[in-house]
């Protein structure tokens, strides 16, 4: 099981042929208190880079992009009842959606743990 990251501060954890996607701790800190999350429905098809979910803090709305081309297997319905899970457990219970990628090799272009941490260092 490996975790990869995007420059848009999403994490992707591959489990067999399904990838779980969420936003990183850095991303939730930047957003502040999350008050609303809209996740995609199972069966929806996305191209990599397409807007797949919405996350809103008190102040502003942000998009979460599909990091991989594929079909949504599940959206995290728990976030509808408790959006603050994104703040309290961003890389665990605060996951956004599970997607079945068409082409697993898209994972190869993503940042590994070390590269993502280097990106955060650059961001100060």
């Amino acid at each position: 099981m490996s975790v990869k990251y995007t420059k848009d501060h999403e994490w992707i954890r591959l489990d067999g042929d399904v990838a779980t996607v969420g936003i990183t701790n850095y991303a939730q800190e930047q957003l502040g208190d999350v008050v609303f999350v809209e996740v995609p429905e199972a069966g929806t098809q996305f191209d990599a880079g397409a807007e797949a979910a919405v996350v809103e803090s008190v102040k502003a709305a942000s998009e979460v992009y599909a990091p991989l081309t594929g079909e949504i297997v599940e959206g995290n319905q728990a976030l509808a009842d408790d959006p603050s899970l994104v703040n309290s457990d961003p890389e665990g219970a605060g996951w956004f959606f599970k997607i079945k990628p068409d082409d697993l090799s898209q994972m190869d272009e993503m940042l590994d743990d070390i590269a993502y941490r280097a990106l955060l260092v650059d961001l100060g």
Partner: protein, 369 residues
């Protein structure tokens, strides 16, 4: 003072903001705290339950001097300034010749002068406008005073520890008081819907006094993020969002700021348009909106009627922490503006049903007697 890295001005509390872990953002040419460590949600809720300290030193403060100052100011605003008693304070508007709003402001009758507070983003233009048009009064811009707001149900108790007289002030009054021997001008006012005070204090004393207030267990520093969500819940307009040069006081549902005598006499910029609208009505009106569900509708969101026709636009919208749900304000076709009317908010291309309401969204807790 200037921040050398990005040419932003700073307030006398800049060092304090950094020490308290503020996230600083550019706002109206100033480096200002948008939030501290607690975050917008906690800061908002704390202000409604305890007391919050806001740095509003970026706002423009001035005094209008002269025996005819009130008469002079009335040539620029539709509010009754001549009828304002000594020690009393009033919310009014600088209007333009088309009836639009140049800025909103607070005016306090101080006995020998009028004390004026205007928005940070408009202050240079406002003061130039006043200087150019007020021949019977002298405008003195106050640059050497910071402005702090202490807001919330515990504000009176806390501030009275330093200035006992503040307990006896009522909402929308002001007076000169000494705090720890520092001469301050204090008004019982604010822009959160809560009881509270605004304290004009010399720049050199502002930091020390802010630290004293923050040492009180009820007080937490509050950033601009919570200031915005608090004023939205209180149904108060944000200049540049909810009101601007293209919206009139009548469209903005601010008729209450135009006194009876001013309606009869006119004599302010755009009076023909504004008084005509009071008589004949307007095609659109500012209303409150409560979306069904949890998705906030932000400023700029289109409002449609139930047939899908364009009906208006959201000007301020977001999440109300005290309401615990999304709230918004916007301009809506007058035939739909009645509270209880159902409309659709077009959030990310999807129609979100919402109900028209009359702001405020929370009970205002002003101390009126």
């Amino acid at each position: 003072m200037a921040d050398t890295t990005n040419n932003l001005k700073t307030t006398p509390l800049d060092q304090l903001h950094h020490e308290y872990g503020a996230k600083m953002v550019p706002f109206a040419g100033y480096s200002m705290p948008v939030q501290y460590k607690a975050g917008v949600l906690q800061e908002h809720l704390h202000t409604r339950s305890q007391a919050g300290l806001f740095d509003v030193s970026h706002m423009g403060q001035a005094r209008l001097q002269g025996s005819k100052a009130a008469e002079a100011l009335e040539t620029l605003v539709p509010g009754d300034i001549v009828g304002l008693g000594a020690g009393n304070m009033r919310y009014t508007l600088l209007t333009n010749d088309k009836g639009g709003i140049r800025d909103d402001l607070m005016v306090t009758h101080c006995g020998d002068s009028l004390y004026i507070v205007v928005n940070a983003a408009c202050k240079d233009a406002d003061f130039a406008h006043m200087q150019a048009n007020l021949t019977d009064a002298k405008l003195e811009i106050i640059e050497d005073h910071a402005l702090l707001a202490l807001q919330g149900p515990k504000a009176a108790e806390v501030l009275a520890r330093y200035a006992p007289a503040v307990r006896h002030m009522v909402f929308l009054t002001g007076q000169a008081l000494r705090i720890n021997d520092i001469p301050c001008f204090i008004t019982r006012s604010g822009y959160t819907g809560e009881d509270g005070y605004e304290i004009s204090i010399p720049n050199k004393d502002a930091d020390a006094f802010a630290r004293l207030l923050l040492s009180e267990h009820e007080v937490m520093p509050i950033g601009l993020g919570a200031r915005d969500s608090l004023r939205l819940e209180a149904g108060l307009c944000l200049y540049g969002n909810d009101i601007d040069e293209t919206t009139t006081p009548v469209e903005a549902a601010l008729n209450w700021t135009i006194g009876k005598r001013r309606r009869a006499e006119g004599g302010f910029p755009g009076a023909d348009v504004i008084l005509g609208q009071i008589k004949d009505g307007t095609a659109r009106k500012r209303v409150g909106l409560i979306p069904d569900g949890r998705a906030p509708a932000r400023g700029g969101t289109e409002i449609q009627d139930l047939d899908g026709a364009a009906a208006g636009i959201v000007t301020s919208g977001g999440f109300g922490p005290t309401v615990d749900g999304p709230i918004a304000m916007g301009y809506l076709r007058t035939d739909l503006a009645e509270p209880g009317t159902r409309v659709n908010l077009m959030v990310r291309g999807k129609a979100q049903p919402a109900e028209v309401v009359k702001p405020p969204f929370v009970k205002q807790n002003y101390v009126k007697d």
